[in-house]
Subunit: 224 residues, 2 copies
């Protein structure tokens, strides 16, 4: 029996739990690869079925539609990252060091976690960067929110917000700053690689530059 990390997922996101079968795990694995490769707009259940060697109808037994599958893998990522953050800042007592560590985790390239054999976190991180906001930028965000689809993201935002308050209990906008850090860690990464004129980062395209920018931004306002 191998040790595997399992992220508890919202049950209304799927029709059948993809963690519980080989086909289900293949759906997750290959959807991550395929969305990463083709982008979410070009991603279809038919292509996914072909990649797995099953049929379109087979996928539909697990997920109602591709949007729910996207929300599933994205909220899986937030759950996994929340776990990483707790784990990796466990012994850090200084809130400033902790917040710096969180910023680093958010803005660095992720490497594949061997504890989760069917999920490639490195690809998933790229998906978060390019497709993450499409999970909530919809006309049905209200209903999706009622179904708690964004709970892992909100939880992460709260965790970060609490660390901000530890740094400065009088800071007025812990949640907005937290969501700004999270979103900007990814958006500046996208801009750096695709629309570099929107950033000040040089050609070597190192994520450290984003970390420096965010640290500068965050600590000047939090420590004010």
């Amino acid at each position: 029996m191998r040790l595997e990390v399992q992220i508890k997922m919202n049950e209304t996101l799927y029709l059948r739990d993809p963690e519980q079968s080989e086909l289900g795990r293949n759906i997750i694995k290959h959807s991550i690869q395929l969305i990463h490769k083709t982008g979410f707009e070009s991603f279809t259940f038919k292509k996914l079925a072909e990649a797995i060697g099953t049929t379109e109808a087979g996928i539909y037994r697990y997920f109602e539609n591709k949007h729910k599958l996207l929300v599933y893998i994205i909220s899986w990522y937030w759950g996994w990252l929340g776990f990483q953050i707790v784990y990796q800042t466990k012994n850090v007592n200084d809130p400033i060091a902790k917040l710096k560590q969180v910023i680093t985790l958010l803005a660095s390239n992720v490497k594949d976690d061997i504890m989760t054999s069917h999920v490639d976190e490195s690809l998933l991180h790229q998906i978060i960067i390019a497709e993450g906001s499409k999970s909530y930028l919809t006309k049905h965000v209200g209903e999706d929110n009622k179904q708690q689809y964004f709970k892992p993201f909100k939880d992460l935002c709260n965790t970060v917000g609490e660390i901000i308050l530890e740094c400065n209990p009088n800071y007025q906008y812990p949640h907005s700053l937290a969501s700004t850090i999270i979103e900007m860690a990814h958006l500046q990464n996208f801009f750096m690689h695709n629309l570099p004129a929107l950033t000040d980062f040089d050609k070597n395209k190192k994520e450290d530059q984003i970390i420096d920018f965010l640290n500068n931004l965050v600590f000047s306002s939090v420590n004010k």
Copy 2:
């Protein structure tokens, strides 16, 4: 002859210039209304044609596909807003006051500009908030960028970056901070209305709160 403001658009965005005919102007006008109402995913040229009272093929003579139409109206907005910013900060000499004014313009609700009869800027502003990032979050962002589709956005970002440098010539990340301000002015607005747990703004949902947050964020790091 009525006085109308015209925004010069990138000619590779369209097949036939929509500003030059009644049908073209109707395409712009009704696409803004329809995208605002149904969201970009549900928006189709067929529905648009029905709304206008023309045919699908008629729309295709103006725009190759709905993505280019989205990019068109979004870059129109950035062009228009860039003009507003220059116009409304013309007599402001203090760079700090100027930057504050820009933040206010970016984060406030926009009202319809009567100088542009076929464009409802108020609706367009809502589209920027909910659909704006979909214009660049694609697999073909590289080619689109080569075609200069994002020039108005970059120009705005440069303008804001220059004002930031006027405030503090030693500030290291003028472009990244500018793109952060612009994107966050919209994203915090979206969160405030749709995912309020990601913000610290109260129920009255006033845009002033976003302005305060952004001013706090920007001026603590720029004036450091």
